[in-house]
Symmetry: C2
Subunit: 230 residues, 2 copies
Amino acid sequence: MARRVYNQFCSLALSLDIVGERWTLLLVRELMAGPKRYTDLAGALDGIGSSLLAARLRQLEDDGIIRQRQLPPPTAATVYELTTAGTELAEAMLPLVLWGARHRARAPRPDEAYRAEWALVFIAQMIDRDALTGLEYTYRFQLGESEAYLRISHNDVTVTPGPLDRFDATAGTDPVTVLEISAGRLALSEALTTGRVTLDGDPDALLTLTRVLPDRIPEHPRIALDNVPG
Amino acid sequence: MARRVYNQFCSLALSLDIVGERWTLLLVRELMAGPKRYTDLAGALDGIGSSLLAARLRQLEDDGIIRQRQLPPPTAATVYELTTAGTELAEAMLPLVLWGARHRARAPRPDEAYRAEWALVFIAQMIDRDALTGLEYTYRFQLGESEAYLRISHNDVTVTPGPLDRFDATAGTDPVTVLEISAGRLALSEALTTGRVTLDGDPDALLTLTRVLPDRIPEHPRIALDNVPG
DNA sequence: CGGCATCCATTTTGATACTG
DNA sequence: CAGTATCAAAATGGATGCCG
């Protein structure tokens, strides 16, 4: 299957040659919450044909964005995970995601799919890793009907769909509130005082959470042209 | 033509519902260098079908990303230009562009199209607007066979394909060097001392140029979660 | 000629069935 | 579970036609 390319010597066109096809960036989003199996991906991406999913996974692997890994027995399974280039691509998606929140915000449609991890993987990107030294907490996020888990550990932030047995605290809200906060139209502190976001669990963990998350997401985020250490 | 949507309540999916189709982001890129006519766009985007171009323009207009404007006689012509939302979308594309430069860099192919403005519109985004107070210069960029113009004026940066009669200075280099600088693998100062980038014209204008451009583009740009004033 | 609309061959995608 | 095979439907590319 020869890929359709733009044939332009331009960084944007070169990017879009490999991530501009349907489903590709959503596949990257799925893998932001850790390695997943073929059937997990097929389940999360409702509407993708099985053969197209297989073709996209092969393309992304050829392009060095994901890699296959065999889990050892007894869990014997093939999983896909992001490479370093894939993780950097995921980071590059954040401004597009925030643009979407600001300009495409609306109420969810009745038949629309929703997963807590879709929002949580991008919330996780906004946590200041330098503020995490010595901290280690696991949070359960209950967003509407769906839940996902966020773990901060030393200078690392990870998201997993869960469910996990052990966690230190729970944050609860609804999908629309998440969108309004992402759009920069609602501050986290304001959402907390009005009860639109509820917190429950270990007080130290919760205080940490409110400290590492931005209180208000900017409506005009800027790309910092200083190198990020590490 | 009913649009194909992902049907997921997720900011990324909501964005991709409207900018994920073929040609859409390249159209936005074209309009980053100022308003253009239908035929300008058709000429720049080699391979797009005329009917598809018309359809995309209508979609983008419906989605509030571009708007049509009638130029007054005698230049009587219809041009398309970015709205505020469109300009913000263009800004959100920068990390994806830099990701492409870092991970998809290669030599240009013989049959590949190239335009100076494709690079210049993103270079323009990296100029620190706060450092421009009281400055007013126009630069000609000669990139390979192609040229485009950059104008800084007060706190404003604009790019036009030109040609312009009057400009204060010229910067000259080749497409591959632009890509290496964009990828963060080559500092501007280094490219200047090795003669890979040449400068010519008014010394004040040139000194200003080297001051407002970043010397080295980070390999790990970060999204600043402070609001950008203005 | 600029600014599209129409038509049709080719690709890509969606949905389901099937296999080791 | 991890895909492949198949086929219909939709999107795209390219040519051509129309109308001021």
